[in-house]
């Protein structure tokens, strides 16, 4: 009896994850074509191109050795990122609720932290051609400061991701813990049950504020403009991802869409109380939430420049204060 339940659950998880994964590959294309290109008054790429076709294309490219001091680790990092996002999605399915250690907010926060630390490692391990290694006679007679430490542009990126770990992701974590104040439990199962009994947390005052904070945190974790300091095109070009080629680059591309989807599902679990399962029509609501998030992010990022510290600190501080307000309101 127990065995059949377990097998069924595992099957259900696999089917759910596969369906979610397929939908998630469309998200970058939707953002690019229906939001950015529309706002910029042009036609834009086909929906499938950025999210599906580009990763498949990269699979068939030459697997070039990345220029990195530890190529093996550098190549492993995107796989780790992908597995992290995958386990996060599995956590959010109702079948995982049986394992309390996994289906709790602490586990989700931990997984997100792993993802962020991967960016730091990627940044510090990537040594791309575009800055120091460019063959150019820099230190010639008459040049200023010939005895400095040379720094790759990815090193800046690594430093910035470290900074993002220390304060940049506060808003998201605060928003994650806002529903806990209502449900009085950090287990996803209790949060979902509480909301099914008392209505979605989103429609309370505390939940509304926390939702806004969650959205800001969502953009920070996804490194989308304006918070994309670790991969701003105007100075660090692509930051941590500079050296990935062929299949590792395709994993990087896929992970981004998948993370967009997973964070959207996370919102619907914590704020509306709907876990992701393919065997219930509520999965449609999950997908709608994901799409709303992608569209909002697209609109927001199309109208903002990249932030520097001067704008980043106040906006993160503001979001953090809002998050604290949401938690305090929830506790009252």
């Amino acid at each position: 009896m127990f065995e059949t339940v377990a097998t069924n659950s595992i099957l259900a998880v696999i089917i759910t994850v596969v369906v979610c994964f397929i939908i998630s590959t469309l998200l970058p294309g939707i953002e690019r074509k229906y939001v950015h290109a529309r706002i910029q008054q042009r036609i834009g790429p086909p929906v499938t191109s950025p999210g599906i076709m580009a990763p498949i294309k990269f699979l068939f490219k030459e697997n070039i050795k990345p220029s990195s001091p530890v190529p093996g680790l550098y190549k492993a990092l995107p796989v780790i990122c992908f597995l992290v996002v995958l386990s996060m999605l599995i956590t959010l399915t109702p079948y995982a609720f049986a394992i309390p250690a996994l289906a709790s907010l602490v586990a989700i926060v931990g997984l997100l932290k792993v993802e962020e630390i991967c960016y730091v490692l990627m940044g510090s391990l990537s040594k791309s051609i575009m800055s120091v290694r460019m063959p150019f006679p820099d230190r010639v007679k008459g040049a200023a400061h010939t005895k400095t430490t040379l720094s790759f542009i990815e090193d800046i990126s690594a430093k910035r991701s470290l900074r993002m770990i220390t304060y940049g992701s506060f808003p998201l974590y605060l928003a994650l813990f806002a529903p806990v104040t209502a449900a009085r439990s950090i287990f996803l199962q209790d949060i979902v049950l509480y909301q099914q009994a008392n209505g979605p947390f989103l429609f309370t005052v505390s939940g509304g504020i926390a939702a806004i904070v969650f959205f800001i945190g969502y953009m920070i974790v996804l490194n989308e403009y304006p918070f994309s300091i670790i991969k701003a095109k105007c100075d660090v070009i692509e930051g941590p991802y500079m050296e990935y080629a062929s299949k590792y680059r395709s994993i990087v591309f896929i992970t981004r869409g998948f993370l967009m989807f997973t964070l959207g599902v996370l919102f619907s679990v914590l704020f509306i109380g709907i876990p992701a399962t393919i065997f219930s029509p509520t999965i449609l609501l999950n997908i709608v939430v994901v799409l709303v998030f992608v569209l909002m992010m697209g609109i927001f990022s199309a109208f903002t420049p990249v932030f520097t510290n001067r704008q980043l600190l106040p906006s993160i501080l503001g979001a953090t204060l809002l998050g604290i307000l949401a938690i305090v309101l929830g506790l009252l």
């Binding site: 042009r42 006679p137 200023a144 701003a232 990249v306």
Partner: protein
């Protein structure tokens, strides 16, 4: 404003960027010396695209050399031919027909529009505001098509020749009407852009106080053009040029010398350019467009200065049996490199490229008379 001084003693980290970089439209190398992501000093290395144009020009027949000056720069190509022809005209005492002078002014101002729009679009792209950048590029296409209509090519039009303008660049009624209508379109679009730009508080906060260049320092570094006027110094060579005698326009200045002032400077100057083009279209005289009635003789070294979109352009050469001798060209970006290096200091790395872009660099113009150090 207190003077920012480059600190040269305790420099820790160097971040080189270039020669290919998304924030740069042309090859150059910039070495940023940073401390905790704040730029302490910057070194811009040009000479990457040194092609030795002045050297090639020496010994060429003057007509051929004029055609070559156009290839110095793909952005202000018309200005280079114009000034090169003007140099020969000054030296050989050639009378230019009134109509040709008007057409040259129209071309010059259209080029100013396209250069300033490129600046605005590139500036917005460098702060990663893709939407605004796209919108300005869309406006710029209108100007590009006007230039293609007059000159027959989108970039190098080859309009001025010694004695006037090329007959194929003559403007008939239909062309004048089209320019007139398109000016209305551009003015409308640019007004919309400026209003939106100023209403966008995030973008304004992002560019205010970045890359500051005080007026005193700008004069010390001999900065020219809009970059100088954005620091509050009203100096525009067009007020002294005989081509612009008939036209009524204002010399725009901006107070601060930061990126915001520079961007707004270009916007307001574009409005002035539209004003000049409208006056030129309304009053363009009839007559021939080129004066073929001149003779070649040997001259002493001739000099000519004009105001191009980026500042003061200087051409000088002597003529000997119809060929060029002692050619020297000084482009505005040559003077503005100092401003670029200075403007970076004290800013975040993300703003460093923006501070360079704010001085409207054109290193392809500038790279001519520099000795390459071989290693």
């Amino acid at each position: 404003m207190e003077e920012k001084v480059p600190r040269s003693n305790i420099i820790e980290t160097e971040i080189p960027m270039g020669t290919v970089h998304p924030a740069a439209l042309e090859p150059y190398r910039v070495r940023l010396f940073v401390e905790d992501e704040v730029v302490q000093e910057a070194e811009i290395t040009i000479g990457v695209n040194h092609r030795g144009i002045e050297r090639i020009m020496e010994g060429l027949p003057v007509e051929k050399a004029n055609a070559l000056t156009e290839k110095i720069c793909g952005i202000c190509s018309n200005s280079h031919v114009w000034n090169s022809c003007r140099t020969a005209e000054i030296g050989l005492d050639i009378e230019i027909p009134e109509r040709a002078r008007y057409i040259r002014v129209i071309m010059g101002e259209l080029e100013r529009l396209h250069s300033h729009f490129l600046y605005l679009a590139h500036g917005c792209e460098t702060v990663a505001h893709e939407t605004f950048s796209m919108r300005v590029f869309y406006l710029r296409e209108i100007v590009m098509e006007l230039l293609a209509m007059i000159g027959g090519n989108r970039v190098q039009y080859g309009c001025p020749i010694i004695g006037g303008v090329r007959p194929r660049c003559d403007l008939d009624e239909a062309k004048l009407l089209r320019i007139k209508n398109d000016m209305d379109k551009i003015e409308e679009g640019l007004t919309g852009f400026a209003e939106r730009f100023l209403a966008d508080s995030i973008l304004v906060s992002r560019v205010t106080g970045v890359g500051v260049l005080p007026a005193k320092q700008a004069i010390k570094l001999a900065v020219t053009g809009p970059s100088l006027r954005a620091t509050g110094v009203a100096r525009d060579l067009r007020t002294t040029m005989f081509e612009y005698e008939d036209f009524d326009f204002n010399v725009v200045t901006q107070p601060d010398g930061d990126v915001k002032s520079n961007l707004l400077m270009r916007v307001f100057e574009s409005f002035e350019a539209i004003k000049i083009i409208r006056q030129a279209i309304a009053n363009i005289p009839e007559g021939k467009v080129v004066n073929r009635d001149w003779e070649m003789f040997d001259t002493d070294i001739i000099e000519s200065y004009i105001e191009v979109p980026r500042g003061t352009l200087y051409h000088s050469y002597a003529l000997e049996t119809g060929r060029i001798r002692h050619c020297i060209i000084r482009t505005p970006s040559m003077a503005n490199i100092g401003a670029m290096q200075y403007a970076c200091i004290g800013d975040h790395i993300t703003d460093a490229q923006l501070s360079i872009v704010q001085c409207d660099p054109c290193f392809t113009c500038t790279d001519r008379a520099i000795e390459i150090i071989r290693r």
